[in-house]
Assembly symmetry: C2
Homo-oligomer: 436 residues x 2
């Protein structure tokens, strides 16, 4: 039966992509752990808090945090050298989207150079996420495997996007979110249903492999939220603010890249300056350094006193944190360091949500946690134009779903308020053709 | 600012549709409660078990269950009379899909006649679900409101599909699932992103209203499932079986309608015969009578001894239950009684999953609950060609998400195995045009 054979082949290929994505997630997970242990931990004694499902501790120590700008600058310099020596151009989700839309392949050499560069970026204090590089790494491994195994052209193309989702799903421990992301991220408005089924299989397999090594506990597990229908309108207001923050985030990412390119010609020194600048922001607010969504977990738990600033009173720090994180992420990524834009988006959204929640808490006595949670979700959903996968991710990140109705209202408003501004330039406007 | 005004207008309209959908869900919920209390409860002393979030008790009593065929036949006759007297033609999800695709409106008279007919169908023992009629009722109310308030043509059209999802989301207490359903159900392959944002708002509002009256507890709450990556391949096998069952279910629904129409000319007597035939199947297996997903809850809990058959040994009952539920649902709906196809799909999938789980339990000692849960999900996802919303619904129905990776594999296989066979004939093949 040719139909059954085609189904079985698709399952086999999806399982293969899933296994490779799991390997990619593990490589990146341990790569960043090692890199930050050495660069920030040993050299500066700086340790960021970790969320429960990250495998570390919520406790943190600033150590010799004044060394951070130096370490971050050195990290940036290393990234610049890798760019020149190993011929690393891009290393981003956009690159995968473009490769998919134009049926191009991803080179193995650049894939591995990017793994190194992004581990150094994150480990030396760059403000960026682990998920983008993981997805890019998974897509690169899939592309290489497709060549070695002489898979069909259409399968190789499918592998790019399915593995992007499966890699991100694994490192977030959000397999369903990862699978849906693969279908949703290709277009600003459309949805690639033909990608969904292989993505479901690959992402489940990838998650199973990654979790078997690292554990299956959700990253922000243990935060419980109750639903109260009367609070629903407050989340429309939150959505509007997060939509605005999403626009600011995206525009600054673009703008900072233009500025850096105009100011410094050297591709080697540019990321070094970006690292230095990020590290200087970190002197004011250490929360912006590194991927560090442990800080988000503190916000989620309401441990506001646990957010340190060596230079500012807490109320000013809280008010400025969303802006400082936007600033630092643009400095890191705009200068050519290598990392993901999802986790910074989550953190910016969470800090902005905390501010909104604190105001409503003061006026109406409502709890702040749902605002933090829904804030991260709605900013990212609006910026990535991927509301479904982001919603699923937040369910899977927190292990809870009570806040869904809040999130539904906030995300709709945030999406509408953010207009056409989108994080990924590789997204096409709408579905161009059905995928087979 | 015209952009802001457009956003606010969309929010206002969505909120209105959400409120109406909540009213529809409440009307239907209490309508069916009253109808089954009188028809089956008072007359036959029959009481089906209820799942925790349905507001009743898990305990059941068969009473004078031999009266069920008579009551079901009388119920069918009443539905036949309503069809003729009140000019009720269709009353289905397909009707809403067709009205959306052809920008038609739904008449208020038929909307209310259908509410009555479906409450009688379900209350008198017909094998059908509450969600389809609820969605249809919500869409009908939205269509009427659009006329009264002179909404724009495009808003009226949006109201149909947004309310369908919001109504189903409320009665299932699965608001996210309902919202995604609205975007996903229109096409066999596509996804209507423009519907998603108003649907998110409407479904959250509808859920908030419905839950404020009925309670927010998830319908199948309290079933906890652990994830074990080694079991993943078993769910590929489950998916293949559920995909086959989905095809059988859809084909028998179509075929039974053809047979009934060929055999009995009278539109009044046809549903009476359908009711009688359903009731006779109920003599063998009372589990097939009425919407009754309380039985599914017993299967989920593993209380297999709690499944009664007055005429068969338990092993034979268990083996036959998926087929008997398919048979009964075709008899009910093919004859012209009025009800939804989702909940029967859930129950068929759960019973088939129970069988598969029991076999694997015997051989490998694995727990059965995940197979029941994933079984309901994968059959319905494949049959409705709506895998995302069904996945979300099952998360929301059970209040848990640990089984997601299992479900991802099973649903992908079930979808592929079921080919092009689809529950809803009103679905278009793919996205025809973007919705504005």
């Amino acid at each position: 039966m040719p139909f059954m054979r085609a189904v079985l082949r698709l399952l086999a290929v999806s399982t293969l992509f899933g296994l490779l994505s799991g390997v990619a997630a593990l490589a990146f997970y341990f790569g960043v752990k090692a890199s930050s242990f050495i660069l920030l931990g040993v050299l500066a004694g700086y340790r960021a808090p970790e969320a429960p499902g990250e495998g570390g501790e919520v406790a943190w120590s600033l150590g010799r945090y004044w060394l951070i700008p130096v370490i971050a600058a050195a990290g940036g310099l290393a990234v610049g050298l890798i760019r020149r020596r190993m011929g690393l151009r891009e290393y981003s989700t956009d690159e995968v989207l473009n490769a998919y839309h134009n049926a191009r392949r991803l080179g193995l050499r650049e894939t591995l150079a990017g793994l190194l560069a992004s581990a150094i970026t994150l480990g030396s204090g760059g403000s960026a996420g682990a998920e983008g590089p993981t997805g890019r790494l998974a897509a690169g491994l899939a592309s290489a495997a497709a060549r070695v195994l002489k898979l069909r052209r259409e399968e190789a193309r499918l592998g790019l996007i399915v593995s992007l989702g499966a890699g991100i799903g694994a490192i977030f421990k959000a397999p369903m979110g990862g699978a849906v992301l693969a279908s949703e991220i290709l277009y600003r408005e459309g949805f690639e249903r033909g990608v969904l089924y292989p993505a479901l299989v690959a992402s489940a397999v990838s998650y199973a492999l990654f979790g078997s090594v690292v554990g299956f506990a959700p990253i922000f597990g243990g935060v419980s939220i109750a639903f109260d229908p009367l609070y629903l309108p407050l989340f429309a207001a939150l959505g509007a603010i997060e939509g605005g923050a999403a626009v600011l985030y995206v525009l600054w990412l673009r703008r900072s890249a233009t500025i850096f390119r105009a100011v410094i010609k050297s591709e080697v020194l540019r990321p070094a300056l970006g690292g230095l600048a990020t590290g200087l922001v970190g002197l004011v607010a250490p929360e912006v350094v590194g991927p560090g969504y442990g800080w988000t977990y503190l916000a989620l738990r309401g441990s506001i006193g646990g957010l340190p600033s060596p230079l500012m009173p807490i109320w000013l720090l809280l008010a400025l944190l969303p802006l400082l994180k936007i600033l630092a992420t643009g400095l890191t990524l705009g200068s050519g360091e290598v990392g993901g834009v999802f986790i910074p988006g989550i953190i910016i959204g969470a800090f902005a949500g905390l501010d909104v929640g604190l105001i409503f808490h003061r006026i109406l006595g409502v709890p702040t946690a749902p605002f933090v949670l829904v804030g991260m979700l709605s900013l990212l959903g609006a910026a990535a134009k991927a509301p479904l996968s982001v919603t699923l991710m937040v369910v899977e990140l927190t292990g809870g779903y009570n806040a869904l109705p809040y999130a539904m209202v906030a995300i709709a408003v945030a999406y509408l308020a953010s207009g056409k501004t989108a994080l990924f330039e590789g997204q096409l406007d709408e579905t161009r053709q059905q995928h087979n």
